[in-house]
Symmetry: C2
Subunit: 324 residues, 2 copies
């Protein structure tokens, strides 16, 4: 399908077709309408590329997916992406997917995408302290929303974000354990310094009336198992554990001795938690993705409203199963 | 960034810019080169849309994701998508993601995508008998590759596909059980009629020297548990079960009585399998996604080579854990 085909079918010159697409204001209304009708009839292909040239809008939202790690804690991506694709389509956008190993390679990918596909907006996931990606996008005035709040309290960290209140989740988990009679509730989390991990630790800590015992390890089943074994071995009073992830919690389940039925609660309500009957904090991922699309759509419809700082903090819920 | 900006910066008329983009053959070489340089310098945005208009190539590959069901058997999508995005990027393509509930709504989405984004090719997942999507794409000569073989033996079912040899997987599982001393090995699968399910049943059946016992249920942990309970209850000789999915296998694990340690093998090597120590058939999803990209890239580079019927059948492996 070339401009020549369209010109022939419309009975006009190639110049008129070109003008209709690229300089519509120089073509008479009636002629332009006729040419556009022919373009539609012959197929949209040229039409969309032309529309994009005119409007500078691609109707694409780009999002990166991280390597899936152990596939347990990372399995939120499936559910988030599904809802993101679905709600974006309802607003007239599609999802452009890419992978990136770290901030710097993700920024290189932004450059590439902006050159080749012109996404209208980006969704950032896995936000962290001093997030280079957010600064880069903010500097260039590119629309984006973060799934995850800006953990750095910098003046330029003002951008739309959607997050789940992790502290509220571990607070709910701890309250559930207190209500079912536990008095000594430990915590297995990640090393201090990660926004997400510190937030989840905080919810547990603030719910106890006196300081609880805790261990901090990198994420993973094996790490969770040895941390739980160590904690339970040195703290005989502990009867329950709140964990910062389902991976850690699955490890903690394996650390239990037959004669000491310690209650365990995970975080993320992953398929693995469902499979083994692990009580876990459930994140409303569908709602979160829909909120991301809504904030983006709003920013894209009114680009001149200034840097939008709207945000949505969703409450997680506790899915209670056999483990606690 | 409009054509007027480019014209000003290049010191040429808007008409010349428009011609450079849309009718390059009518512009003097030197002028065209100069205008393109200015376009590049000012930003690629107009350039790519124009390139797409000229070449009819979007460098987008579209793929649909299904609702994640119980999130266990469906969790292959994460790993497949990651590898697909990564290998596609290496070939200069990006992934356009959409959701679709069934064949008909997926075809409606094809129409929409072709109108609005012009993907160069599609990746089909979840192929099945009488796949309307494959026929629709074949009729229109649209490039695609299926992850999953064409299960219908129709003359028009010739298209590139990548699949994992499911029968080889359940054969490996059954052989492993025979080698570890089991003589009565049952099968928990899906109702006959699904290509994937029948293939997995076949590998088990053909490895046994005499007909084995089996149950067929819809996928899911609860269904797997009751099917396994029923089979084990009526077949006291059975000491091992091969299952068509990890969901069924997780159910079978729960159906075991403490005094009868039945060996269980699942299929898909999902994170849930890893979490509970379930031996499972592992699909090489990264390789499969890379093979999809390779077949598509080949078809897109030589579109006139006729309907390509290249296919890749990958062998799964058995990941051995505690359950068998």
């Amino acid at each position: 399908m070339t401009i020549t085909d369209v010109a022939k079918a419309a009975g006009v010159s190639r110049q008129t077709v070109s003008n209709t697409l690229n300089s519509p204001e120089v073509v008479r209304d009636e002629t332009r309408k006729h040419v556009l009708e022919v373009i539609e009839r012959l197929g949209y292909r040229a039409n969309q590329a032309a529309r994009q040239m005119r409007t500078g809008r691609s109707r694409l939202i780009a999002i990166g997916i991280e390597p899936d790690g152990d596939g347990i804690s990372g399995s939120w991506a499936d559910r988030f992406l599904h809802s993101l694709s679905e709600t974006a389509a309802q607003e007239g956008y599609r999802i452009l997917l890419y992978t990136a190993a770290d901030d710097r390679s993700e920024i290189a990918t932004y450059e590439d995408l902006l050159g080749a596909y012109q996404p209208d907006a980006f969704v950032l996931t896995g936000t962290h302290h001093d997030d280079l990606r957010a600064s880069w996008l903010l500097e260039r005035g590119l629309p984006f929303v973060a799934f995850g709040r800006p953990w750095s309290d910098l003046p330029d960290a003002r951008h739309p974000w959607v997050d789940v209140d992790g502290a509220a989740g571990t607070e709910a988990a701890t309250r559930h354990l207190l209500a079912t009679g536990h008095r000594h509730i430990g915590f297995i989390g990640w090393p201090p310094g990660s926004g997400v991990g510190d937030d989840r630790r905080e919810g547990w800590a603030r719910t106890l009336s006196s300081p609880g015992v805790q261990r901090a390890v990198e994420d993973g089943i094996a790490a969770g198992e040895s941390a739980a074994r160590d904690l339970l071995g040195t703290e005989p009073e502990v009867t329950a554990l709140v964990c910062a992830s389902d991976s850690l919690a699955l490890g903690a389940l394996q650390a239990r001795e037959p004669d000491r039925p310690v209650a365990v609660i995970g975080f993320d309500d992953t398929p693995a938690a469902r499979a083994v009957g692990l009580t876990s904090v459930h994140q409303p991922l569908g709602e979160a993705a829909a909120a991301c699309v809504e904030l983006l759509a709003r920013a894209l419809e009114s680009p001149d409203a200034g840097p939008p700082s709207a945000h949505v903090l969703l409450s997680p819920s506790l899915t209670i199963r056999q483990s606690a």
